[in-house]
Amino acid sequence: MRIFMLSWEYPPRVIGGLARHAEGLSKAMASLGHEVHVVTLDFPGAPYEEAEFPLYVHRVAVELPAPTFHTWVLLFNHFFEKRVGQLAKKYGPPDIVHVHDWLTASAGVASKHLMRVPLVMTFHSTESSRSSSFRTPESAMVGGLEWWGSYEAAKVIAVSGWMKSEVVSQFKLPPSKVVEIPNAVDMVKFEKSVDVATTRMKWRVQPGEKLITAVGRLTSQKGFDDLIRALAIVRKSVPGAKLLVMGDGYMRGELEALANGEGVAERTTFAGFVSDDDLVDAIKSSDMVAVPSHFEPFGIIALEAMAAGVPVVVSRVGGLAEIIEDEVDGLEVDPNSPYSIAKATTRLLSDQALASRLAARAREKVKSYNWKRSATETLEVYEAAVGEARYE
């Protein structure tokens, strides 16, 4: 098959899990012999064209200024459409156009009708779950684009059972139109040997101290404020507990101030965005990984910790609650509850046998979350979409 994959992020432009998904899926489908063209946004230092047959990455510059973020998204979709047209002329029309979230939905719908090829849309999240309600005109527009994409798509993919329920109920889709295909993890990345002592020193963790790592965009959704409050409780029982936060976002200053206010600034490191190597090193050198999200359609970081053999504490929400079985391969906590996070974290950091048991079970479980499986299931969805596409 020839696949046009439209994603606003693709490494090295990594905002969050969507980039990991687009990369893992594209590479796995290419390894199965399919011709994959990723159309994505440009990024400093990244080439505009990458070709490693049968995987191509085409980066697009947005050549016009926009007044707001949401009009900018619509504008870059126009430039995506232009690139799709050029690629169809050069390589031939695709068999499938695959878009991810509202961010590339309009380019996908236009491509579908212009080339008369089936559209598949993957939902990684929805606006209503992100913002609780459509409180602003922009938010309402995002919700509209999500509905429009899901309506125009021949098939819809959801990254978890929770996400499937959300899109089926919110967009009134027939359940048979929506297929759950979970995210995955590249196990090989986590098989590298790591100098744990050096890595821990790099992040100011002294011998005998305990390292809690959290990874993600610094937005309210991720619940890092709860984690910082939890650390202030944990340190009463585990004085050597330290927190390493990897990622960046609008809340950074707010979280730094919170850590200061809670008296844990000296025990908290905000690393900002880090390289893949640094991320793997840090996770593998941690005593546990915390995923305290308020909501989480999937939560790839949980898989990464599991692949690294590091025990996890996760919020009992969305896709996280589907990945982790409480007390079997991780510990679940109540979302929005520093006390619940603190209780589970203290248990894990104080009970090495528990931590080892959970991590070992998790490492076995995570093997089923591989990109080859996700790619195979996605290709089955493509085949079904080819048979079901309508262009009225």
Partner: protein, 79 residues
């Protein structure tokens, strides 16, 4: 703690100031945002200090663009 200058960060991204050769002058940025140059400079300082933006000085006119970290942070509402 002063409020995070989200509007300036986002504006630099959507107006295309994402590399040194596409840097936007502070006067132009202030004009587009309807803000005084001094207020823009103050907010830019915090972005520059945090590593989200960089200044270039062309012919004595300061211009600013987002770093890779700034672009990712400006996009961080979604993923």
């Amino acid at each position: 703690m002063s409020e995070f200058p989200k509007r300036i960060l986002s504006s630099l991204m959507v107006m295309g100031a994402q590399s040194p050769d596409r840097a936007m002058s502070i006067d132009e940025l202030a004009g587009k945002l309807g803000m005084a140059r001094s207020a823009v400079e103050l907010e830019l300082k915090s972005l520059i200090d945090a590593g989200y933006a960089k200044l270039v000085d062309e012919s004595g006119t300061s211009a600013v663009y987002l770093t890779a970290t700034g672009i990712i942070t400006a996009s961080s509402t979604y993923s």
